[in-house]
Amino acid sequence: MKFTEEHEWLRVEGDEVVVGITIHAAEQLGDVVFVELPDEGKVVSKDDEVVVIESVKAASDILAPIDGEITEVNSMLTDNPSAVNEDPQGEAWFFKLKPSDPSQMDELMDEAGYQKFIA
């Protein structure tokens, strides 16, 4: 698993990358009440706002961690946004993305690097 400074995790699955937010990020956000996912097939660039996530108190954006095309979104989250709090690094992934430049993954942190980043 790779991690960004925006508290996202990325997991490679074949030629796709699964993206979600970290346990730490979910704790910081608090109770999630709304998730708005992008359209499948959307082509995104690194740092584009792709997901809107709202907790009881505030709205935040999830940014595209790398360039690519959104191939699938986890539509379960639309009806069950609290899954983000329950299992952020498992069931509650946000989207899958087909990277246009897989080498962008190399710039991201590994688990140890991320734990150090949030310490």
Binding site: G30, D31, F34, E54
Partner: protein, 374 residues
């Protein structure tokens, strides 16, 4: 970064694992480990303990009650003189333009008036009272007192178990109580829509009192996050958001807080800042009105969301002033102002969220029925 004040309960909050944030010049707990959603639901089901010590507590004293009450009536459109000993009212300071300078609670304690004002406004409120009332009436900020609220359906039994005199208190009654050996000024009121108490206590006793209450089964500490969602569900205004210096209280649907004796043809009509504009608006067609809003989808409509008459084109007819998610309603809720023609229950209008207009309908306040002990 400016230095933040701390309330007498600061150490307790940190010990309880609160997430502290700056709020109105104070370091305050926004949430405890339970989290906003559970804290909110806990308060509606059992009892929540809130630190509201950042609010301003002020005593007004003079020769006698009539003098103090009459003087205070020059600042607020409420019936102060007619307030019986041991009772409290909601009120607001007005300005010459007919707007609201702050909202407040005031209670009669014998011949004194005990006023509780918002933290963000307290310096201005104290200056306003001193300028208008002194030297005939003495304005004394009570910097040595903390304020703790216990709110929720079990609050009545909890306080009555500590002092049986609380049993007789009804909504908006005030009474001196002794809670676990600590002398307090209690009022049966709050800002959550639940039964409960606001308890003024000497700062030195506050930590001990809070621990006594937290030791009772079913009492949990609650942060500002849940305080905000609770008051929004209860349809209560937050100063600086739902009401402000340019808000006419009649448009804010606060006419109920202006007793008849201060209205047109009342025995003590007017005599407060902006009285012509405020009293003149009662019973007249209004430009806009504060309403409850229920987004029809799941997306919350936050403060500042613009409201439109149509999904495409149309005109902007209002703005959201408070909005979020209502944990007890289990849906997004909001309050805001809309042009009077649109202030019709069940009418669907449109709120613009991230560039998209989403349906929202006018609802009735409050979202959750009040559970006061009348």
């Amino acid at each position: 970064m400016t230095e933040q004040n701390r309330t007498p309960l600061y150490d307790l909050h940190v010990e309880l694992g609160a997430k502290m944030v700056p709020f109105a010049g104070y370091e305050m707990p926004v949430q405890f480990p339970m989290g906003v959603m559970k804290e909110h639901l806990h308060t509606r089901a059992q009892a929540g303990l809130f630190d509201v010590s950042h609010m301003g507590q002020v005593i007004l004293s003079g020769q006698d009650w009539d003098q103090v009450a009459t003087a205070f009536e020059a600042l607020v459109p409420m019936d102060v003189l007619g307030l019986a000993d041991g009772h409290q009212r909601y009120g607001f300071f007005t300005n010459d333009a007919g707007g609201i300078e702050d909202d407040l609670m005031f209670a009669r304690r014998g011949n004194d008036l005990f006023v509780v004002v918002n933290a963000a406004c307290k310096a201005a409120d104290i200056a306003r009272m001193k300028a208008a009332l002194e030297p005939d009436v003495t304005v004394t900020p009570l910097e040595d007192r903390a304020l703790i609220a216990l709110q929720g359906p079990t609050a009545g039994a909890i306080i009555a178990a500590l002092d049986p005199r609380a049993q007789e208190m009804r909504f908006m009654d005030v009474q001196d109580l002794t809670l676990g050996g600590i002398e307090v000024w209690a009022s049966r009121s709050g800002y959550t829509g639940e039964d409960g108490f606001e308890i003024s206590v000497l700062a030195d006793d506050a930590d001990s009192l809070a621990r006594t209450l937290l030791d009772v089964d079913g009492v949990a500490p609650i942060g500002l996050g849940a305080r905000d969602s609770l008051r929004l569900e209860a349809g209560l205004c937050l100063y600086g958001h739902d009401i402000d210096t340019d808000t006419n209280p009649i448009e804010a649907a606060l006419t109920w807080a202006i007793q008849k004796v201060r209205r047109k043809d009342g025995a003590r009509t007017g005599g407060f800042p902006g009285s012509d504009r405020i009293l003149g608006a009662i019973g007249q067609p209004l430009v806009q009105r504060r309403v409850a809003l229920r987004p029809e989808g799941r997306a919350p409509m936050r403060e500042g969301t613009t409201l439109w008459s149509a999904q495409e084109g149309g005109a902007q007819i209002g703005t959201v002033t408070s909005g979020g998610f209502g944990p007890s309603v289990e849906a997004p809720i909001a309050m805001g102002y809309v042009a009077t023609d649109y202030a019709e229950p069940e009418l669907t209008i449109w709120g613009e969220v991230r560039g998209k207009r989403l349906p929202v309908h006018i609802a009735k306040l409050p979202f959750v029925a009040a559970n006061f002990k009348r």
